[in-house]
Each structure stands twice: as C-alpha cells, then as structure tokens.
C-alpha cells in the first residue's frame, strides 16, 4: 500500500466566506465590511497597488492636480489683490505630478493597512472565475492560485470608453489616465466630452495656462446635471479662456507629429476642424469585466458590458455572486460603489440594508465645484411635479466675498405643496462638501423651511444653503 503523493495545490485550496475581485472604493470597502461582520474575506487586485481607478487614476490624483492648479492660478491672479507680492510663479510640472503620485502612494498604503487591520487576505493578480464558487488569481510571474469562495463580489470597475474613430495613442490622443501624468502643459488641449471628467481635467490645464477647447455632443457642459449648473460652470471656465463647441459631433481625430486634428459636425451639419497639441477623450466609461471569465461562473454581461443584478440584493443571476459599483447599473461614482460594497456585505450577513439611489450626490471637482442631489429641474418638469425654486448667489455671501470666491449659487427645488426638498444643486467654493447637508436633509425628508430654520454658522459658505431654502420656502432670503 503506497502513499499517494499530493501536490501542494491539490491538497491546499484557500477557502473564504467572501472573495472580492477588485480593490477600488467599492471592493475594498466591501471587504472591510464583510470582515467586520465576521466573514473570512479575501480581496484580489490586478495591479500592484490597491485602490482601483478612484485612488490611482481617478478621484484622488485628479483632485491633487486640481488643487495644485488652483494654487498656481491664485498665485498668478489673486495674490496681488490679497496683498501678497511674489515673483511671477512658475509651474514645475514634474514636482506637481510627483506630489500627486506621493498622495496616491500614501493612500495605497492606507488601504493595505486597512486590509491587514481587518485580517483580509490580499492577492495581487488577475482574478478570473474558475467556476461559480472558485476564483483563479493569475499573478504577474505567471503562477496562479485558486480560491474557493462561498460568496464572490465582482467590483472590477470601469475603463474609459474608446471609440473606433478616435484612435487613442496615449501620447497625443489621451484618456484621463494619461492626463494625470503629463510631462508638459499642453498649448492647446482639445477635450472631447464636457462631462464631469472632461470639465475637471480640462479646467486643470486651463488654469495651468493651456488653451482648452471643449467639444461636446450635448447642448452644454455636464449635461446630466441641472441645466443651471452647466451654464454657471461654463461661465466660470470661460473666464479661464476656454472655448466651447456644444452640439458638436466628433467624426474623427488624427495625430500628425505633435499636432492633433479633431473634426466635428455642428448642429447644422457643417464640419468644424480644431487643431491642438493634445486631445483628451472623456466620452464616458465602460464597465470593465475583461479577463474575468464570466462564462465560467455562468454569467454574461449585457450589451453595455454591465452585469445584471437583483435590485434588492445586488446578487447576480448566479447565487452567491454579487456585483457592485461601475460594473452594475447606476452612476459611476466612487461613493455609490462604497454604499453598494457595504450593502452587499450586509446582505450576505442576512441584514436588510437600504440604498436610496435618488440621494447619491453627484459632484464635479472643478473650481468652483459643482454638487447636486435629488431631482433636477428638468426631471421635475418631465415628471409633472409642481415645485418651487429658490436660489442664492455666492456673491451675496459674506464669506465668499471675503475669500474672493464669488462664482456660484445654491439652488433648492421644493415640492410646491409640502415644501419637501426634492433637489439641491450648487456650484461654488466647497460645494462638494456642502452637498452633504442636503443629503442629510433629504434622507429625513426635510422641507425647505426646516433647513431654513436651522442655524448655520456665520460667515460660512453653508449660509447659501440656508438662504436658498428660505427663498424656496416663500421667497424670503434675508440677504438677497
């Protein structure tokens, strides 16, 4: 009777309660919550660093650059008025990018720390389904390991959309990823798509001195948000010398040496040709499931690449497999993914969490910032809901004047009968932080008057919210 020799991989397969594929804001938050709930949890990340798009090539680095460009812009344009004389500021783009990378690295380390702290096993490599209950991790050196999982959470996120007639070479025709590590400031940056990402990155380089031309298919900037926001943002960015080609459909883009030529058709069908040295393509993002081998799990992505999930549980058509964040329906926002991450972990634990998708705020990190939550005026009109509108401009706000950040306004939409706040849209300094107040108020279904009757510290930007609520209640803003 001989002993059978077991190979290591035969005998030993790691087993987990929860395996999360992708360590972006949805994935790593989901892993932490699962670990908190007592599940043995693993997380798989394709790249060497944790954090996904948001941390590495999205939210965090773009905010780092936005702030740097803002400082530069202030130094050039506002310091003198503040009574600060400095020699003409000079941009050190290399340092700017290096600082940004430092920020990202620090946050990468933060996530790794959180994984260790919560005893979450981290696997670096490409995660792909081996079956509906096992995930294979293929490491960079070609070796692989198979993890058995009672529950699998797909959190693989999204990638920039690329159209065939816009040949992205990542040198002259670039996506947001490359825009975050430029080695020179463009002379003329053509931004295709004036949505959130285009507006953010376009405004970075506009402030750093580039001429920026936005080519947008819709009628204005950030077209999915309340129309007032787009108009106000355009006014602000126009001050940086940007040009706008709205209702223009891009037909081609070509690189010749250091020159990019973008051709587009205007609303009348007339062809327009724009020449620049860089073209940033920001026409959207697509769910990313490449290499995930969904078929092995019995899953298929829909025609837009998304994974269908049950609304009540975020479970896919295969029991025990869940999907969150950009790979499922809904806004592609880090904080939406985070909520879904927590949600799924709690669902697996048998809890019944809620996500109010209507109250996930949308934010554009330009300066002034744009933030909104709830219904837009256009949506209320379409739905036939009678509403009242109250706005308050930053230029009437003591704090805004003192800080010389007078661009912007807060607009509150309230139910005509009940006064319940239905939508809040703000553009201005620190709007991204201020929108939290609106979310809290709306989660509790506050009326405009409720918020108007709450004390807001003076002098702050948040007074604009209070004043706008007063205006929405019955046109009785105090400082308008």
């Amino acid at each position: 009777m001989g002993l059978r020799a077991y190979s290591f991989s035969d005998a030993y397969m790691l087993e987990f309660d929860v395996v999360v594929i992708g360590s972006g804001p949805g994935g790593y938050v989901s892993a932490i919550r699962a670990a908190q709930l007592g599940f043995k949890t693993a997380i798989i990340e394709k790249y060497a660093v944790m954090g996904g798009t948001c941390l590495n090539v999205g939210c965090i680095p773009s905010k780092a650059l936005l702030d740097s460009s803002e400082h530069y812009y202030n130094a050039v344009h506002h310091f003198q008025e503040h009574g600060i004389d400095v020699a003409k500021p000079k941009i050190n783009l290399k340092q700017m990018i290096a600082r940004k990378s430092g920020v990202v690295e620090k946050m990468n380390g933060g996530i790794s720390y959180l994984m260790k702290k919560n005893k979450i096993m981290t696997f670096h490599g490409l995660g792909s389904f081996d079956s509906s209950k096992t995930v294979k991790v293929t490491k960079e050196d070609g070796s692989s390991e198979v993890l058995a999982a009672k529950n699998i959470i797909i959190a693989t996120g999204s990638k920039p959309t690329i159209l065939p007639f816009i040949p992205v070479d990542k040198k002259r025709i670039i996506t947001s990823t490359e825009a975050l590590k430029m080695t020179e400031i463009p002379k003329h940056l053509i931004v295709i798509g004036a949505g959130v990402i285009g507006a953010e990155l376009g405004s970075v380089y506009a402030r750093l001195g580039a001429k920026v031309s936005f080519v947008e298919f819709a009628e204005g900037m950030i077209p999915t948000m309340d129309k007032t926001m787009g108009k106000e943002l355009q006014k602000s960015i126009a001050k940086l010398g940007a040009e706008f080609y709205f209702s223009h459909k891009v037909t081609s883009a070509a690189v010749k040496g250091a020159e990019v030529t973008v051709k587009a058709q205007d609303a009348a069908g007339k062809e327009v040709e724009i020449k620049g040295d860089y073209c940033l393509v920001c026409i959207g993002r697509r769910p990313y499931t490449d290499g995930l081998n969904l078929a092995a799990a019995g899953l298929v992505a829909d025609e837009r690449g998304r994974i269908a999930v049950d609304e009540r549980t975020l479970q896919t058509s295969v029991p025990g497999i869940y999907a969150i964040g950009d790979v499922v329906r809904g806004a592609m926002l880090a904080h939406k993914a985070e909520e879904e991450g927590v949600f799924v972990a709690e669902v697996i634990a048998g809890q019944k969490p809620h996500i109010n998708y209507n109250l996930i705020p949308g934010v554009v990190y330009t300066w002034p910032e744009v933030a909104s939550v709830g219904k837009t005026e256009q949506e209320l009109k379409t739905a036939g809901i009678a509403y009242k509108e109250g706005s308050f401009p930053f230029k009437a706000l003591g704090r805004a004047v003192a800080s010389m950040d007078v661009d912007g306004l807060v607009k509150v939409l309230a139910d005509a009968t009940t006064d319940e706040i239905l939508g809040v849209h703000m553009i201005g300094a620190r709007a991204a932080d201020m929108i939290a107040e609106a979310v809290v108020a709306m989660e509790y279904r506050a009326s405009a008057e409720d918020v108007a009757r709450m004390s807001h510290a003076h002098p702050t930007y948040t007074e604009a919210m209070k004043e706008a609520c007063l205006a929405a209640t019955s046109k009785r803003a105090l400082h308008a």
């Binding site: 599940f39 109010n356 009968t417």
Partner: protein
C-alpha cells in the same frame, strides 16, 4: 356619524386583550350584533359583536394588544355620514379619508367628522387590577416627566403594593401628563396619568388631517407632516430586518418621522425577547437561510433554537405562577388514599348511574364532594387574604384544572357542596367540553375558592401543585397504582393514590392543612361517610 367600538371590560384583572381574528374586512358593511372579531385575553377568547349597523373601519389589526377601553374599530353609520359630508359622497367610503378628500368646499366640517373617528385623544392611565387581593398601590417612581413623549409599552412608572413592586407600561404613545405624584396612594382603577395622543404621534390622525389640509391650505407650515411615517435610513434597515412595515410604526421624530429608536422599539409589544439583533446573530441566521456561509467562522453556527412569541395566556400564567411562589408561604403536605372502596362503588353502579343520569361516574365527583365536606370543617383552607383581612367563603366554588388546547384553564363548579355526585359529574363534563373548544366564558373561570388538579391523568405519581391565587390551597390528585399495603396486619394489594395539598402557610396552619387532607382521605376511603355526613 362614526361609532367607536372599544374593548369592553371583560372581567376582573384583565387589562388588555389581543385581537385574534377579524371576521370582517375594512370597509365591510356590518349589521347590528354581527360578530366583528375575536379577542383573546389571558383567560379566554371572546367575540365582539357590532354595536351598530354601518361601514366598518378597522383600527386595531390582528395581533395588536389593546388595553381595556381602547378603540378597536369604528362603524360609520351610513346615512348620517352621507349627510355630514355632501349629498353625493360615496356611501361605501373605504375610509374616512376617501370620503372626505374630494369634498373640498366642506372640508372644515368633513375634517371634524374624520378626526372625530380617530381614537380618543387623551387616554387616562389607570392603576391596573394587579391581583385580587390588592386594592391600592403607592406610586414609587416616575420614569418620565410631565410633557415627555412616551412610547407604547414604555415603562413610565413604578408602583408598589403590599406584595410587590411593579412597572407600569404606557398604554399608548403620546405626551404624558402626571396626575398622581410619587408617594401618592391610588386605588385600583384610580387615575395615575394622562397620555395625549397628539397628531404628531399617531400616524392615522396625521394622515387624515394631512389629506384634508393639503387641498385647502397653500400655507407651507402644516403641522401634520407629509413625512409622517418616513423612516430614517437606519430605521428603515432595522424595520426591514424585523419585517415590520413602516406603516405600523408610530414615528416620534419631527413631523411623525420614524427614528432609529422607534424602529428598535417597533416590535416590542409583539416579541419582547427577540430584541437581540446583534450582527453576529443575524449573520448566523442569514447563513442558515441562504445556506451560503458556514464552517470556520465563529459567528456562523447552525440554528439549534427556535424563538416563538409567548402567547398572552402563557405570559400571564408565567407571571402569576412566579408571583404566587414569591408572594405566598406555600408548602405541600401529602397523604395516600386507598381507592378500593370508591372503585368498588363505582364498579358496582357506574352503568346504572350512566343510565339514570346520562353521565359517567368518575372519580372527580367523589373528590369534589369530599373536598366540600372537608372545606366546611376547615374554613381557612377555603379562604383568601385581602390586605390585612382574611376572607372566608361560606360556599364551595371548586376550580377544576383542565388541559385545553391553548393551555391550562380552570373552570369553576359553582356551589359544589349542594350538588349531587351526578350534578358534579355533569358540570365537569360540560365545563371540560367547553374548555376543549375554547368556549369557556370568563365568568365560568373566575371566582373559585379552592382548586383540584389531577396530574394523574398524565401519569404523575406525586407532585406539588402551585396555588391558584388568590386561593390559598390546591389539592393534587395523582395516578392510581396497585401497591402492597398492610391492612389489618396483612400485606394486601390495593389501588393507592397519593394526594398532595399545597397551601399558603400564612393563614393555614399545619394542623388544619394536614387534618383537611386526612379528612379527604377518610371520606374517600369510606364513601358512606359522604352520605351520612360523618
């Protein structure tokens, strides 16, 4: 006009009832005296007949626990309602709101009508009947202040009686107004406090007034909020996990919003012990439910316990049994009875007895009769304590413990001392039959002076029964076993039953209790004594 139907005072010591089943639906047309629903108390189930003919509006749902006097439903008396509203108002209004809403011009009138059909606005909190021998209580501590918002079943004060301290839960959610200050001595039924059930507390009221107010007032600040019943994010999760609908929760937040605290307290009246919803517990239950998580992790253990709501009856039985053990000086004395004489007599006459009286001759009649004779001789065994007095009963109302589908019930054989053996047997048969069908009325179960319980039917050899308070003694019968006993110096086989008498030593001395039991034994071992009264 709407007639509010309230929980009737169904009997002493019953302070609340549970709505068991509705025989009618919301909006049904009901006739006078038609049975609307069944109510359960800890003692009995009884039916609620309609007090008027009209359209039924249900206020309390099945499973709701209501204090005596609370509104169960209202009946819209058809013709009047139409007159009050408007000539063409639909006569079959599904709810007051439906009838009122389209009638903008007479809203003020209509809204009054609608609001008046909502449960009483001020509820008087009275001292409950806490026990038959307790006539007054002392207010020891108020846990809430006047003006505080109290929730249903929240403990608002502690009361002391000469026997125990007990907590008083709020009968309704609302704003508290204290009437009896700490230290005050209040009789049973006396008013302790008032609870105003404000518009912001009762969702029903809010909904009605809101629906009415909305069309006429363009003013923004409506007291009754559109957001009434809206759960906060945390509350929504908790309610979902409990399976409680937000509509069933009275929000105490601003404008009737449901706060996290409201949600946490939401199912309290239904299942108090199930509050422990720790993440670990829910994780464990989930894993079983989905079958998806298991093994290694400490939080995931297979479910090996079940939790069920205690019935109202069970809760009361539990409370009372413990109270008796705590509040009396109870002990038990034993004896044995040679059943041969009774069995011989029974064997000899049972067929003729049945033929003549239409009922079988059992042992219960002999025991009851013997007990009645003994009780006459030892009146303290047939007494009760009331405060500082002993109440002697010069009659024998014998409670008989009967196992019924919903638990133990104890119907009473009235004036058993005057009944013949046949009379007792037929009364036992009648009461036992009703018990099995849950048809016993409260009257048939209250007022006994002494109890006989027969554990023998389940095979018990010996037990120590617990007194059926406020009575002071209980006789336990057991199984009859053939034993070797010595009679006249000879070892013979005799059918023997052990008897147990548990008694309250506070008013029954050992001499009396033992003598009582010996007397019962004597009468049973020589049944001719029953006939001759010796």
């Amino acid at each position: 006009m709407a007639i509010d139907m309230k929980v009737p005072a169904v009997g002493e010591s019953i302070t609340e009832v549970t709505v068991a089943t509705w025989n009618k639906k919301e909006g049904d047309h009901v006739k006078l005296d038609e049975v609307l629903c069944e109510l359960e108390s800890d003692k009995a189930t009884f039916e609620l007949p309609a007090e008027a003919e009209g359209i039924l509006h249900i206020v309390a749902k099945e499973g709701d626990v209501l204090p005596i006097g609370a509104v169960i439903c209202s009946i819209e008396v058809g013709g009047v309602q139409v007159a009050v509203n408007v000539a063409d108002a639909a006569p079959v209004a599904a709810a007051p709101v439906a009838a009122v809403a389209p009638v903008a011009p007479v809203v003020s009138v209509a809204s009054e009508a609608a609001v008046s059909s909502v449960p009483a606005q001020v509820i008087e909190v009275k001292v409950p009947a806490v026990g038959e021998s307790i006539t007054e209580v002392t207010v020891s501590v108020w846990n809430k202040k006047s003006g505080d918002v109290v929730k249903l079943d929240e403990v608002i004060c502690e009361l002391e009686s000469d026997k125990a301290t007990f907590e008083l839960p709020a009968e309704a959610a609302g704003v508290l107004e204290i009437v009896a200050e700490p230290g005050a001595v209040v009789a049973i039924g006396g008013i302790l406090a008032k609870i105003s059930v404000g518009a912001s507390v009762v969702p029903a009221a809010v909904v009605v007034s809101d629906a009415v107010a909305a069309p006429v007032t363009s003013a923004v600040s409506v007291d009754a909020s559109y957001a009434a019943g809206h759960p906060s994010p945390a509350a929504a999760k908790i309610l979902d996990e409990k399976g409680v609908s937000a509509a069933d929760v009275a929000g105490t937040g601003v404008g009737g919003r449901i706060t996290k605290e409201d949600a946490l307290a939401a199912d309290k009246p239904a299942s108090a012990p199930a509050v422990a919803v720790t993440p670990a517990v829910s994780a464990a239950s989930a894993s079983v439910a989905s079958g998806s998580v298991a093994s290694g992790s400490a939080t995931v253990a297979p479910e090996r316990t079940r939790r069920e709501k205690m019935s109202s009856l069970r809760k009361t039985v539990a409370r009372r049994l413990v109270a008796v053990k705590n509040e009396t000086a109870m002990l038990t004395t034993f004896n044995e009875v040679d059943m041969k004489p009774v069995m011989d007599l029974r064997g000899k006459y049972k067929d003729k007895f049945k033929e003549k009286h239409g009922v079988g001759l059992g042992f219960m009649s002999f025991f009851t009769k013997a007990v009645c004779v003994a009780l006459k001789e030892f009146p303290s065994v047939n007494a009760k304590i009331d405060g500082e007095e002993i109440v002697y009963h010069d009659y024998c109302d014998i409670s008989i413990a009967v196992s019924a589908p919903k638990g133990l019930v104890v119907p009473v054989i009235r004036s058993a001392e005057f009944l013949s053996l046949a009379g007792i047997e037929s009364e036992v048969a009648r009461l036992a039959g009703k018990a099995r069908e849950n048809k016993l009325s409260l009257e048939e179960m209250s007022g006994g002076t002494f109890t006989i319980t027969n554990g023998g039917v389940f095979g018990s050899m010996l037990s120590t029964p617990i007194i059926n308070a406020p009575q002071v003694a209980i006789l336990g019968m057991h199984n009859i076993v053939e034993r070797a006993v010595v009679v006249d110096g000879q070892v013979v086989v005799r059918p023997i039953m052990y008897l147990a008498l548990s008694y309250d030593h506070r008013i029954i001395d050992g001499r009396e209790s033992v003598s009582f039991l010996v007397r019962v034994k004597q009468l049973l071992e020589d049944p001719a004594r029953l006939l001759l009264d010796i």
